[in-house]
Symmetry: C3
Subunit: 316 residues, 3 copies
Amino acid sequence: MKKFIKCNDLIDFELCVNQIIDSKKNPTKEVYNKEGKVLGLIFFNPSLRTRLSVQKAAINLGMRIICMNIKDEGWQLEFDDNVIMNGDKAEHVREAAKVISTYCDIIGIRSFANLSNKKSDLEDNVINSFVKHSTVPIINLESAISHPLQSLADAITIKEMSKVKKPKIVLSWAPHPKPLPHAVANSFIEMCTLCNFDLTIANPLGYDLDKKITKGYEIIHQQNDAFKNADFIYAKNWSSFDDYGKVNLCDNSWTIDENKMSLTNEAYFMHCLPVRRNMIVTDSVLESNCNITIEQASNRVHGTQFILNELLKNEN
Amino acid sequence: MKKFIKCNDLIDFELCVNQIIDSKKNPTKEVYNKEGKVLGLIFFNPSLRTRLSVQKAAINLGMRIICMNIKDEGWQLEFDDNVIMNGDKAEHVREAAKVISTYCDIIGIRSFANLSNKKSDLEDNVINSFVKHSTVPIINLESAISHPLQSLADAITIKEMSKVKKPKIVLSWAPHPKPLPHAVANSFIEMCTLCNFDLTIANPLGYDLDKKITKGYEIIHQQNDAFKNADFIYAKNWSSFDDYGKVNLCDNSWTIDENKMSLTNEAYFMHCLPVRRNMIVTDSVLESNCNITIEQASNRVHGTQFILNELLKNEN
Amino acid sequence: MKKFIKCNDLIDFELCVNQIIDSKKNPTKEVYNKEGKVLGLIFFNPSLRTRLSVQKAAINLGMRIICMNIKDEGWQLEFDDNVIMNGDKAEHVREAAKVISTYCDIIGIRSFANLSNKKSDLEDNVINSFVKHSTVPIINLESAISHPLQSLADAITIKEMSKVKKPKIVLSWAPHPKPLPHAVANSFIEMCTLCNFDLTIANPLGYDLDKKITKGYEIIHQQNDAFKNADFIYAKNWSSFDDYGKVNLCDNSWTIDENKMSLTNEAYFMHCLPVRRNMIVTDSVLESNCNITIEQASNRVHGTQFILNELLKNEN
């Protein structure tokens, strides 16, 4: 594997999920000895779970880590070609990616959607520029349109926690005060496809996601209808895709509470975190036993450890 | 030991100080092999000595470190319960503490007093929220009202340097241009109590510390009187406790100089650093042999190493 | 060796360059086992290559690293003596350097020229204050007037890549939108002197560098004349030295393009990076085979590894 940018960069995603679940039961540390290997982490945006879980995964493998907030600690990067660089951007990604490649065995990149340039976001310009110009594997720490490490952890969590063979999973939009990217929702849907999960999407009118990604799935605009018989509720906010990056309503009737959860088949509540309490979901749901968000966060380590190991195999 | 938030979290503080002094003479590295253990460091505020000495201590133990400036690199945290999170705070400590606990074996927290909300500061709200919601031990890297790692290093230094059996120690207020928290002074007094030291407190009128902490100690409002026969002068600024967080005078007559030091029994000069030269203390005192501030800073490593080791014992 | 502030801190610079080139061919990891040694990195300014390559070099040696952006993560430092510290600067370098020395085995300092106080810059005040007050070796990660780790990598690159015994090297000024320090150019010239390289300097009128450094070298004010028969073109911008820190022209006629490169003896193109594309040099030159800037960046690791090892020898 040369990169992990989207879920389907894993040749058999579901098989990998099953392998990770097995290896959690039977940890074999011997195969994970990657001493001397260096993971470079380049952050264009804030991060808590990803920043920490990726480091923990690398530590588990015996790797060393070099971590960098590139805009503040390094230079602003230019991603466009054929420009006269006489502004604020001091370095071109063509140089930066090659240079970082000489120091690191794997490069992790976190760069959110800017939500202003739809074309550039859809091309996933920042991370793909690193893929193009680096000479070592790139791992996606959340890009403009994908967050596959989150979805991998979500897949592990669903498979581990499900009480039924083919659970009904509902991806539900929920309100948030600020415009958010589509990366988590996109990758969650892609993951459900790769795992052949039974997915329903619920969101208000005007908040349908990219049709290329939701193709084949039912989109329901009445949250209560969607929740019926659900085994997993996966909450997430995203801004409008059609009216790109805009928040045209902040509809608190979509906040997930105990009443709505009672419509489900005693569903587990999932969220990628950070979660806005009493906006996305009420305190009472989060303080109940149905909340498995911490399990999701914990599985970030196991998923990332697997991916780092796969990416390093390439090299040896 | 489940946490180190205040000096008295150590069951027998003075015995521990003596053990640390012994282990400095006879370092036995074997018992300190904590490879694979991860120390998470979460900074809400700047830090030089603490940031570096805690990392050095963890390195000595063979631990790995994940360091994070949470406000800039992660998310602003909400600490209040039952709030609708529709403002700038993206994550609740209830989630953050649990999540960080899944990645780290010990979590260090630095969060200064804000000096505007006395009740919240006195409850040591930030660090105690982490204690409450985390599932791994918490170590205090300076909280609103306590800085026990500093006081532990101070105790080591006093015991190592004292020329007499029961030295007279003076904690003296000294001027500073900005309002400062009470944490270092509080913990110093608590440490003196636990070590049964002979302590005198000197500060201007209006600058008495929390009476719950100073109870039983003489507070002198004439600096010169306090300095007589002192063996250790511990200088520190703090803002008013009664007129909470205010600086009602910046009385340069309290600056510690050679004349004042000459009133003492050839006392050593101590300060937690950073120190404002020619505000807190003159250059000439700092450049003289009585200055043992670097010894204090150096002992931070030995104290922290002991505490990290104690906190990890719990786990095994 | 007690410090590496300028190229001539190495007793025999050229011999060291040859040794590094040899050790790249025959890596002997055994002699480089510096486990438990701590490298402290103190950044006053942004850095990408230096930040990453120094960490990679330390990792190769088995060292541990503590990295700090001192202004944001620690305290603003005072470097002047005999001042009343009642402003924004909370700590004096006299304390900071001694304290950091107690935690680290080597301290790296990056502090650019401020380009406003010529005297202070020429004295290389920040890094020399650390040299004066620290008790462990100091390594220069680029100071006001020197960047010897860059020049060491440049020397390795030139020696490795040169097709002739005594190549003609041209250090050419090139345009840039902002005022830049002289450190890279200064150290490059000093390195050429120590390696006995055939150096020509090309810059516009008004941009002559410090005469103490350029003494003995031809300075040509017509770029085309300088480029004739060159084997290496080393591009770099710097602000005026005489009209200190000013940019009195932004002469795009000095941008290096394929036409100018065609005047040379099929010269290699070198730059310390980050490079402003189509200001310093055109895309077409950078995308051609003559570009060896990535080799320079890669050699940063080998040079730094050698220097760290030399600095640690002192200690043992």
